[in-house]
């Protein structure tokens, strides 16, 4: 029985690696193809086609960046195991930029990480962080915290029926917003989880 489980696990790992390699190769091929298109269109004076090819390159780069970020994120947070099938990278060149999503745990107790570049919320969050008396609410539902040297806003929500507390931590990284949502937890655990996220590496990747 145990041998069967190990074989099954090995198969899963090999399959994941194959999918990852194929995915990366696909992105690389698309990027090179778009680059060739951009170059040839530009050389022939077809500026609009060159621009479209470059937009495509941007989208592919956003996806590549998103995939790299997913690789950096921890495989699990204490009891929360990653749900790889829910991993999502969405490139939206322009208004919202790239979005990366990962969740951990099971339905009902789902921990989520969302990273959004060019987030429209960045301006207001930075404004709150620059004014400590605004960032910290009197009732303790909101406070500014520091995670690996980066300032963030930690919000606490208490369910009036179940009395369970959930937390949302938002950390602006230049024009990118990292959001960690943890249900039924406490502040110390949330900060411990946040510290397990390689924030500096993510900030470097998205800049």
């Amino acid at each position: 029985m145990r041998i069967f489980n190990e074989e099954h696990l090995m198969k899963k790992i090999v399959l994941s690696i194959v999918i990852l390699i194929c995915g990366t190769a696909l992105v690389a091929q698309d990027f090179s193809g778009s680059l060739t298109n951009a170059r040839s269109s530009y050389a022939s004076g077809n500026l609009d086609d060159a621009r479209v090819a470059m937009q495509q390159m941007m989208t592919e780069l956003d996806i590549a960046i998103g995939k790299e970020i997913l690789k950096m994120l921890p495989a699990k947070f204490d009891a929360y195991a990653v749900n790889e099938k829910n991993d999502n990278v969405m490139a939206n060149t322009g208004l919202a930029g790239a979005m990366v999503h990962r969740d951990y745990g099971t339905q009902g107790k789902l921990l989520t990480i969302d990273i959004m570049s060019n987030s429209p919320m960045i301006g207001s969050l930075n404004a709150i962080l620059s004014m400590p008396f605004v960032g910290n609410s009197g009732d303790g539902s909101q406070k500014t915290v520091k995670v690996q040297g980066y300032k963030g806003i930690l919000q606490k929500n208490t369910d009036s029926e179940t009395n369970l507390t959930s937390f949302t931590l938002q950390i602006p990284l230049n024009n990118t917003l990292l959001t960690l949502s943890v249900p039924d937890s406490n502040e110390a655990d949330v900060l411990k989880m946040a510290n397990a996220i390689p924030v500096t590496q993510i900030a470097k990747m998205v800049q």
């Binding site: 609009d48 086609d49 621009r51 941007m58 780069l61 956003d62 208004l95 998205v206 800049q207």
Partner: protein
Amino acid sequence: MKSKILLATIAAFLVAFSANSQGLVGKLKQKAAQAAENALDKKTGTKTGTNDGNQTPDNTGNNGGTNAQTNNPSNRTGGGLISTPPDVKQNLSDAETAYKAGSYGEARYAVQQAMLGVELEIGQKVLKSLPESVNGLKKQEQNDQVTSTGYGWAGLTIQREYINDEEKLFRTTIANNAAWMSSVNMYLANSGYAQQTNGQQNWKQIKVKGYRAVIEFNEGSGYKLSVPLGQSSLIVWDAVNFATEQEVMAAADAFDIDGIKKMLGEQ
């Protein structure tokens, strides 16, 4: 033990004396500076510094006797910035190198710069295609503008003005990937939208060279004619001091709308 106490006393005395002497030197410097300032004031007949008679403790503070300047100098020189559109080919090569090295952030920046370069070239091409004059109004080449963010919702904006001596202005703004496209399309999609049949008509739908358009009139700013092109482009003409709607339409007819649409890659 006694010798230690003696040494400590001598050291404390020296330190105190040194501090006191520094204070004395500081005061002497301050007095000398004030005397020099007063002498200068007497010579020039003006009071540029502090008034000795009415000096406040703040003014004679520990600034070493210097006259602190609070006004920052204003800039009177400098040639401004040289307009240098990004080199498209170079940026594409940089993007390729960065991508191969796995520096996706750098690759992204290089592609963005290349796109900016291409958009600026598109803008210049469109400007060249615009008429030299419109209904007797001459183009103001020095006011030509091409603005691009490289990518994103702000997109590419091209602007040219035509003017005559009678303060008659015909401003052409061509926007590509424009966020404000949606509002014009909303007017056009809903033919009954706020169009009046009586009273003062301030806007209405018309056609310019076969393209659906909206013309507006405002006493303060004059006529405004907006023509959406394809999926995401728009031409807006602001006509100031034009006598009639027909005159505005005649001016718009001087533009090759089909050509502009094609250059912007619209279908």
